[in-house]
Each structure stands twice: as C-alpha cells, then as structure tokens.
Symmetry: C2
Subunit: 343 residues, 2 copies
C-alpha cells in the first residue's frame, strides 16, 4: 500500500519538493538555486572552480555499515576537498541521486540531511540536482563549485626542484577504519549473533565514515600569506597523489618514512592486522588531507603549525621519486593507490 | 587475460588519460580543463548557469537498442537543453561515468565519442569528470555550465496573464520512437530469428536515440531581440512542463489541441499503436524542445518562423489550466509526464 513514505506515491517532483523545501541560500553569488532548469550564479571578478565525483553502492560504500547521513556528508566532502585542493573556496553544490525501489523517502531524506550538514558546515548553497531511480543500488554524483581570486589558483603543477613537501593532518586512518568495518562485517556474516566490536576504533572509524575536507588549511595558508606551489587532495593514497604532483610538475621527490604523520590508533590497528602502518599511510586512500609543496622561503611560516607536517622535498626529475626508509635506504615510490576500477 | 582493451589492466588513470588525451579547449573562459582536481573557469561579467542530470541503465536507456555513442551524445544534450532553457549558452561539460565489469575500454570510448561530438557541435569544452566502477550497469551523470548576460536569464516564472505559449519543433516523436524500439525488442526476445523492422521510422527513432538541444532557438530569439517571459525545456512531456511554468508564474493557461505541432511520422505511428497522437504530444516526454511564453508585443516577430508554434496563451491563475479540444470543449490539463521514479 502506498504511504507518505513511498517514493512511487510521492513522485519525482514531490520528492524533490520535500527534499528542498526549506533550503535557503547564504552566498551572495547564488542568484537562483533549486527550482529551475539550472542554477544561476555570479562569479564576477573571480575564477570559477568546478569538480564532480560519483559514488556507487558496493564500490565506494557498503550500506550495511555506512549510515545514510554519513554517506551524504561524505559525498559532499569528497567534492569540497577537490575545490580546496585548488586553493579555492566552495560556494555551491549540485547533487544527483539515483535510488532503487528498496529506498524509502525517509532514506533519501537521511542522505540529504548529511549533504546539508556538510553544506552548512562549509558555507555552501545546495543549488540543484537530479533525483531519479536505478534498477539496483544507490548512486550519488555531486558537483561542487567554488571561487578563487585569479592569481590564487594552485594546480597540480608548479612545484620547484627544492620545494618542501607538506601534508595536513594524518594518513592511513580511513583505510584502517575500513579494515575494521570489513572485519566485523565478515564475522557478523558468519554468525549473526556476534555484535560488532567497534570500541577503541572511534578515530579511525570517523575518518572512514565521516571524513572532513580541509577548508581550515586553505584558510590558514591564506592568513599566513603562503601560496603553495602545487597542491592535490589525498583521495587515492599519498603515493599515488605525490606521483601526480611529480608528474604534473615534471619533478622527482624524496619523502622520509619517519616523517609521515600517522595517528596512534592507526598504528595500533595496523599492528593488529599485521600491516605495516607505513603501507596504510602510503597507499590507504580516502584521507582527504591536502598534499602540497612550498617554496623553502615559506618554511618559517609553517614550521610550528601542528596541522602541517613537512614529509620531504622535491628533486629534479631525473633523480627519481623515492621514500627514504628509517634504515637510510631509498626505495622507489610506486602508486599503488586505491583503484575503484580494479576491484 | 588482460589486454589493452581491459579496464582493470589500464586502471582508472590510464583510462582517463586515454579518454582525454586529445581534448582541446576552445572557449576563452576555460582556464584549466581536465587533469587537475577541478576545472578553472572565468565568468567575469556573466551569470554562471549550471545543471546536472543523471542517466541510469535500465531506467533511462536500454543498451540492447541504444548505441553507446548515441547514449553519450544524449547524456550531454539533455544537460545542454537545461542551459538553453535558461536562455543561456553552454560553455563547459563535466562527465561522471560508472561502469560495471562487463564494459570494455572501447565501450567507454564510444560513450566519450558521443559526448565529444555533442560538445563539438555546441561549442562546449569537456573540462572534467570522474570515471569509476559500479557493481551493475552503467550510470552517466553530466554537469553542464553555461553563461548568460545578467539581464538575459529567463526563469520558469515571469510569464504574464496574456502571454503567448510557444513551443519549438514538434512533440511526441521521441516517445513514439521508444514504443517502436520496445515493440521490436519484445518480438526479438520471443523469436531471435526475427529482424527488427525499423524502416519508415527514421525520424522518430532519431528523436528518441539522438535528440538535439535547441541552441538555434535561443540564438534566433536573441537575433530577433525577443526575450521570453518564462521558459523550460520539455523533458517530461508538454503537460508536465506547462504545469511547471504555470505553477512558477502563478498563472493559468489554455492550449489548443489542434495547434500542437506533431510530425506526420509521429501521427502515423501513434495510429499504428492505437494511441491518440495528442496523448503522445502531451505526455510523451524526451522531446527536448523549448516551451516558452512571450509578450503579445513580440507576436509579430515570431509569427512567420516555422521553428516556433504558438499553441495557446496564459490566463489568470483562477481560470485554471486547460486544453481546448477540437470539439471546442475545455479539458483540465494533468501532468502525466514521464516519471523515472514510478517505473
């Protein structure tokens, strides 16, 4: 029987009305938001920065252990992270969602609650989107739009041969959080009377399920008048992203294993899984931290900021891309990042 | 065994490089295109107009009879159409694609060939996107970005009580094309020795499989110095879209059944299916024509343009929303448009 909670009954337009009823725009540049064929924005005097990212059920998330609100939050955050990686600020978000028949209106509202929380936290207007159906599973595709002064855009290219390599926050935690979730799921699937053990993993679980995008770092660098020479966000793992910076800048690099910021809980959990914490930090992915290079002249400004760690330096291209182990040996860096397509 | 044509082997970055290797930007406002965390655009002095639309396999398209190149073309066109419906011009496109393991690199390249053909035809730069995997099926989510002079944006609201209701092209053809494709598929599924009969349906099949977005109408109206008072594109059927214009403008309307532009092949095929051509024109959907209202003062300018048909006029809200049948009777309009969510 059709109820208020039935998407079929409500229809596409009814659902969209329900999801967008109390959306209020807060940015002066948002001229028209939801409710027309397209959103209308004003970016006079600024560069427009735009990115899109798609998350699919079973590949990017497992609904068994991912709360829908967290999923909505994360879907927005991974896009915001790309905007911050350009040294820009996010202003608007568009959201396309496809759901299968198993989804209720309340479930879609939960996803939207997460999307809106992310928007609220980052000062972003939700200005449009598409809500439609799929034969199986849930797909969310977000498009984030941001702004930047013309001279402030930071690309993947641009780093010099002696530039410092910096990273915000810590690495590998989201990956270890995923390992814990997958382990508990497996145990539960074998014996459904077993309750998942998640205590003591709160930090790494939050990093996996509710990652944050580093607006604070972009703001902090601007306040210190520091412009990175190149920047990227870490979605596929430090190794893979650093290779992108090197490739785009036509440079080599050396990072130092002992310098990589790894949270104690990440180390402890990696030990538990008989994994090298270093491997989680290099290849884990989904950290959504910022990886950037700085001119040596800016070192003084950032050296006492605990949010930023200098992990190495760039090199001329022919010197290669290396990680120096604690033993003093240099090992060639390989991009073994998370690869959605090879699963 | 992995071959060059194997997505797993190529990896996400390899695939993206292959798909975007020879992309060249043509618009002055495209500062940075593919290859960074986000695209960078310059929209100084203009309004930015942005829209997103998701197509999912089995709901929006059936790969049994949809060539992948056509699908790519259509995925771009449906977004361009939303930009034109704001009286704006498309400048950039972002594309997110998720494919399951059954897709080869060559298949994804075919989709891209269609996307790029649409971009080329409409003077649009493909500036970014996301290529990832899904457990089942194909999903394409496009985001189109366009520009407009600040004073030229046309919304769904804004029409006056006496304004003329106009439509470009003809209606119901894409819907009848879909009926033919579905009929032939059904026959083929019953007896695979039967060859599909598609001769004589070329116009309506093209309307379904390779629709066009009406840039020419936006250009023509601008050249005649005509600014519609409200506008929407017809994706869900004339009835449904006209209700949107009335609702947004707080107006009623009367259209005339005999005025609706219907192609002879649409009529002939509707007869064959024992369908009223009028029903196909009102509720068929996927026409991607422009529906707009004009001040009576502009009537002279458009009356001899064969691309545009005046199908009725707006009314004060309390007079209702009606279609006058050839018999002279007024019937209340209902939005029974195509609804992806109710399938």
């Amino acid at each position: 029987m059709a109820t208020d909670d039935d998407i079929k009954n409500l229809g596409e337009f009814g659902l969209i009305r329900k999801l967008t009823a109390d959306i209020r725009n807060t940015n002066a540049g948002t001229i028209t938001g939801v409710g027309d064929d397209a959103a209308v924005l004003d970016y006079t005097g600024k560069r427009v920065v735009v990115t899109t990212d798609m998350l699919t059920e079973g590949v990017h998330f497992n609904l068994v252990y991912t709360p829908l609100k967290h999923l909505g939050y994360k879907a927005a955050i991974v896009n915001f992270s790309d905007i911050y990686a350009m040294n820009a600020r996010v202003k608007q978000l568009l959201v396309a969602i496809a759901v299968s028949a198993k989804f209720s209106v309340a479930m879609v509202e939960e996803i939207y609650a997460g999307l809106r929380l992310a928007c609220q936290k980052h000062g972003v207007d939700l200005v449009g989107g598409d809500t439609t159906s799929s034969l199986t599973g849930l797909t969310i595709c977000c498009t984030a739009i941001g702004e930047c002064e013309p001279g402030s855009v930071v690309h993947r290219y641009g780093s010099g041969s002696n530039d410092l390599i910096c990273v915000s926050g810590d690495l590998g935690a989201a990956y270890m959080g995923l390992q814990v979730l997958e382990r508990e799921l497996l145990l539960y699937q074998k014996d459904s009377s077993i309750q998942p053990v998640l205590e003591g993993y709160d930090y790494i679980l939050e990093r996996q399920l509710k990652p944050e995008a580093r607006k604070d770092i972009v703001d902090m660098l601007a306040a210190m008048d520091v412009k990175p020479t190149s920047m990227i966000d870490i979605s596929d793992g430090l190794s893979s992203e650093l290779m992108h910076l090197c490739h785009a800048s036509k440079k080599g690099c050396r990072i130092f294993a002992e310098k990589l910021p790894i949270h104690p809980q990440t180390r402890k959990t990696a030990d538990e899984f008989n994994l090298e914490p270093l491997i989680a930090a290099l290849n884990g992915g989904e950290d959504y931290e910022l990886l950037f290079t700085l001119s040596l002249n800016d070192h003084e400004k950032i050296r006492n900021r605990h949010e930023i760690t200098v992990i190495g330096h760039m090199l001329p291209e022919q010197e290669g891309k290396m990680i120096r182990m604690e033993s003093g040996t240099d090992i060639e860096l390989k991009a073994q990042g998370w690869n959605g397509l090879s699963r």
